[in-house]
């Protein structure tokens, strides 16, 4: 087990380094923060002076190494726009993003698992058909459209929830649903087909023939086995949710990391982009690591294959 952990950790570190280098290069190659920051009537000399002062004139690899050597000591530099420590700006907005991600995941689990079990245990019937439709819709509705429709319906026409902002639970409902619906549909579809498969197995028939009730068989015997792939999907989806919150955050004016990052990219605020990418990469890599380990622990067959 420790062996696997060590192996995975080394790989995770490489991934994080690679991501930060990649982000650094892309942001640098597509725009110059100096010209975006100074007033448009600044002269060429003034732009040049500013660039020199900020160190933008050094070769890219030097700038990257300078960044890296500070970053490993926890110093991510000042955001160019905010003139404040980049990591602190990210850290400040992290709770909002985590809150939204967790809420969306809860929506997905609380809706997706019961729906999947219900529709999957009914064979070829109306619930199963309706479930398939819901799954298809949930996965194909673009999040920006869904978010705006939710706002229009439950914020404006039937004003149940506040349109934007964060702070109360009622403000969390619409963003969580908008963000979580895709994952809900994914979990539901997966579970539906898994349940269908598992319920055909011999041991289920054996359990039924012992005289156990159908409900008991479904929840006790079938669900446990059908849930296994769901763990993987949840792990993968958590990463998607964390990074995919950008659109949801913008539409619902949710003060999270995604929105800050999009603005930072627009302004070519390099230190801030770097800090954000770094933190998100660590988050996603950690989630994947935990999922992997959890899976190995849940399914002894995988452990044995090593």
């Amino acid at each position: 087990m420790l062996d696997i952990l060590w192996h995975r950790l080394r790989r995770a570190l490489l991934v994080i380094l690679g991501v930060s280098l990649f982000a650094f290069m892309i942001v640098h190659l597509t725009g110059d923060p100096a010209v975006l920051m100074l007033p448009p009537d600044a002269t060429i000399e003034q732009v040049e002076e500013f660039r020199q002062a900020m160190g933008f004139n050094d070769p890219l690899w030097q700038q990257y190494l300078r960044w890296l050597s500070k970053a490993v000591r926890g110093d991510f530099g000042l955001s160019l726009r905010h003139q404040q420590p980049a990591l602190a700006l990210i850290a400040e907005r992290m709770p909002a993003t985590v809150e939204l991600t967790v809420a969306a995941l809860l929506v997905a689990l609380l809706l997706g698992i019961p729906l999947g079990v219900w529709t999957g245990s009914k064979g070829n019937s109306l619930p199963s058909f309706l479930g398939s439709i819901f799954g298809l819709l949930g996965q194909s509705m673009p999040v920006f459209w869904l978010a705006l429709m939710l706002q229009l319906l439950f914020g404006l026409i039937i004003p149940i929830f506040p349109l934007t902002g964060r702070g109360t639970i009622s403000q969390l409902v619409m963003p969580a649903i908008a963000l979580g619906l895709y994952t809900t549909a994914t979990i539901m579809r997966l579970l539906q087909s898994q349940m269908g498969e598992v319920l055909q197995q011999d041991y289920i028939r054996t359990a039924r023939s012992k005289g156990l009730s159908y409900t008991r068989v479904v929840f006790k015997h079938a669900l446990r086995n059908a849930l296994l792939p769901v763990v993987t999907i949840v792990g993968l989806q958590l990463g998607t949710l964390l990074g995919g919150a950008v659109i949801t955050e913008s539409i619902f004016a949710w003060p999270g990391v995604g929105r800050l990052l999009v603005q930072a990219i627009n302004n070519r605020d390099i230190p801030l982009v770097q800090a954000g990418v770094f933190v998100l990469a660590i988050g996603i890599v950690t989630i994947n690591l935990v999922t992997d380990l959890l899976y190995t622990w849940l399914d002894p067959r995988i452990r044995l294959q090593r």
Partner: protein
């Protein structure tokens, strides 16, 4: 089992409904919605309109632009050029910062020197580079010495908001960005990053306590969400209403759209320095004649713009009322092209930004079609703003024509003409014969340091007329800014995109 499930479901729905109905509203709080949050609340260290709109409630400038583009006293009671390079400024007495300290000339000196300090890297430093030194005469008098005669100093001072020296030195630049103290009509209560900034009225404000006691600046990035919040009555002032949403806001019964002419205009630069068709004045005129600006304004912008008549906005000092737009005349345009030897047209590339100005992409596409009707083969490029801005500012635009918006915070020809038409400047693509260029340079140089307003205005008008003859731009339109304003609020939008709230009130 089934019962449990339905019970849980019922409970869930009931809770959601209860939560939903919980919020109480309609206290006397004015909510302003902008697209992005302020980056800091230090007036000297940023150069952003949205940020300025928040901090200008907390700080006061020395003077303020009133209606009719005239300067009115604010923290300064008088300002006067005692010699061509020395301005004497008298301060209002008895003005206090939010912490109780009195405003003195030293604070003003500190404010300017702090921006000019190279170690602080203020993006505003270039705005004040004409200042040589600031001298404190007594507590309420100071002298600003400029490197040359500098007639637009009052315009600069109208954008200079004064910070308290004692306080900034005490808590440091870092904390000052988050814990501002000024002399302004409002004080900071709290700042939830990327969400809201809450301000409360300053009861000891030197103009008297503002009528609106509590103001919240909310961040709502998405246009559609901002409009919905306005329709739902959750927002009182919303910026940048998209033209196609105007009717929806006006029909909501809660709010209406107010429009105000902006000093920002759109132009298309001809790359005159490349040899080729665009070096020929007849071709440049033909392109102007082929683009129907009236139709673009009417059909794409819903009438929320006015066609440009010259290379300067009509709100700016130096504007020449004699000049007229080139007009729309496709037949004449075709004849001109033929005369210039391009009867079969030619190929050109045209670049325009996406998502930066009102309907910019659509405007770009319409112009491409209209130029194609003239017989040209047009390749349209629509880069993302960050990429585009860098190309333009570093003079590496890869196109024969490119579209850009230009706003001039000075409201003075200096800010536009010198930057775009004086030889050697960053945006100068104006290339005509050497003699004409020399005359224009000379006019702009003279006007730049001329302390006689009347003569100065004439110099700019003369330069504008010459530039107009040379046709360096494809003239487009001057924008109108659209604000959604709730019906319970009395507030007037301004041409300089500033949101000023001390004189706003409830209906």
């Amino acid at each position: 089992m089934k019962k449990t499930v339905s019970l849980v479901a019922c409970l869930l729905i009931a809770t959601l409904l209860l939560i939903g109905c919980g919020g109480k509203q309609q206290e006397a709080v004015l909510v302003v919605a902008q697209g992005v949050d302020a980056t800091m609340l230090d007036p000297g260290m940023h150069s952003e309109t949205t940020t300025a709109n928040v901090e200008r409630q907390i700080f006061d400038p020395l003077l303020e632009m009133g209606a009719n583009q005239e300067y009115e006293p604010a923290l300064a009671t008088s300002w006067e050029a005692v010699t061509p390079t020395t301005w004497e400024i008298r301060l209002r007495q008895g003005v206090r910062f939010h912490d109780g300290e009195e405003l003195t000339a030293e604070d003003v000196q500190y404010t300017i020197e702090r921006i000019l300090d190279p170690s602080k890297n203020s993006p505003q430093a270039s705005n004040y580079s004409a200042i040589a030194s600031v001298e404190v005469v007594d507590d309420y008098t100071l002298r600003i010495h400029t490197k040359q005669p500098y007639p637009v100093l009052p315009a600069r001072l109208a954008n200079l908001r004064i910070v308290p020296k004692h306080y900034v030195e005490e808590i440091g630049d870092e904390r000052f960005k988050r814990e501002p103290v000024g002399t302004g009509p409002y004080k900071l209560v709290r700042w939830d990053k990327d969400e809201q900034i809450v301000l409360e009225a300053n009861p000891d404000y030197w103009r008297g306590e503002p009528e609106i006691k509590r103001v919240v600046f909310k961040v709502i990035p998405e246009d559609a969400s901002r409009v919905m919040a306005l329709q739902a009555g959750q927002v009182d002032i919303a910026v940048n209403i998209p033209p196609h949403q105007v009717a929806a806001v006006n029909n909501s019964g809660k709010a209406q759209v107010l429009e105000v002419p902006s000093s920002r205009f759109l132009l298309i630069q001809f790359m005159m320095d490349n040899p080729g068709p665009l070096a020929d004045r007849r071709v440049r005129l033909a392109l102007n004649l082929a683009v129907d600006v009236d139709s673009i304004v009417e059909n794409l912008l819903g009438g929320n713009a006015t066609p440009m008549t010259q290379t300067l906005a009509n709100l700016d000092f130096g504007y020449n009322p004699q000049l007229k737009p080139y007009g729309y005349d496709l037949e004449r345009a075709k004849a001109l092209l033929k005369e210039a030897g391009y009867a079969d047209g030619f190929k050109l590339t045209f670049a325009a930004p996406t998502g930066r100005y009102m309907m910019d992409k659509e405007v770009g596409e319409a112009i491409k079609n209209q130029l194609e009707a003239l017989g040209l083969q047009v390749e349209l490029k629509l880069p993302e703003w960050g990429v585009y801005a860098e190309q333009i500012m570093s003079r590496k635009v890869d196109a024969d024509l490119w579209l850009i918006g230009w706003g001039n915070s000075l409201f003075d020809a200096e800010g536009t003409l010198y930057t775009w038409f004086h030889t050697g400047q960053r945006f100068c693509y104006y290339h005509v014969d050497a003699e004409r260029q020399r005359v224009v340079d000379e006019l702009l140089d003279k006007a730049r340091t001329n302390m006689d307003p009347q003569e100065r205005e004439q110099q700019y008008q003369q330069a504008l007329a010459l530039i107009h003859e040379d046709i360096p731009w494809l003239l487009l339109h001057q924008q109108k800014d659209l604000y959604g304003v709730s019906k319970r609020v009395n507030w007037t939008p301004r041409s300089d995109e500033a949101i000023i709230l001390y004189n706003a009130g409830w209906k």
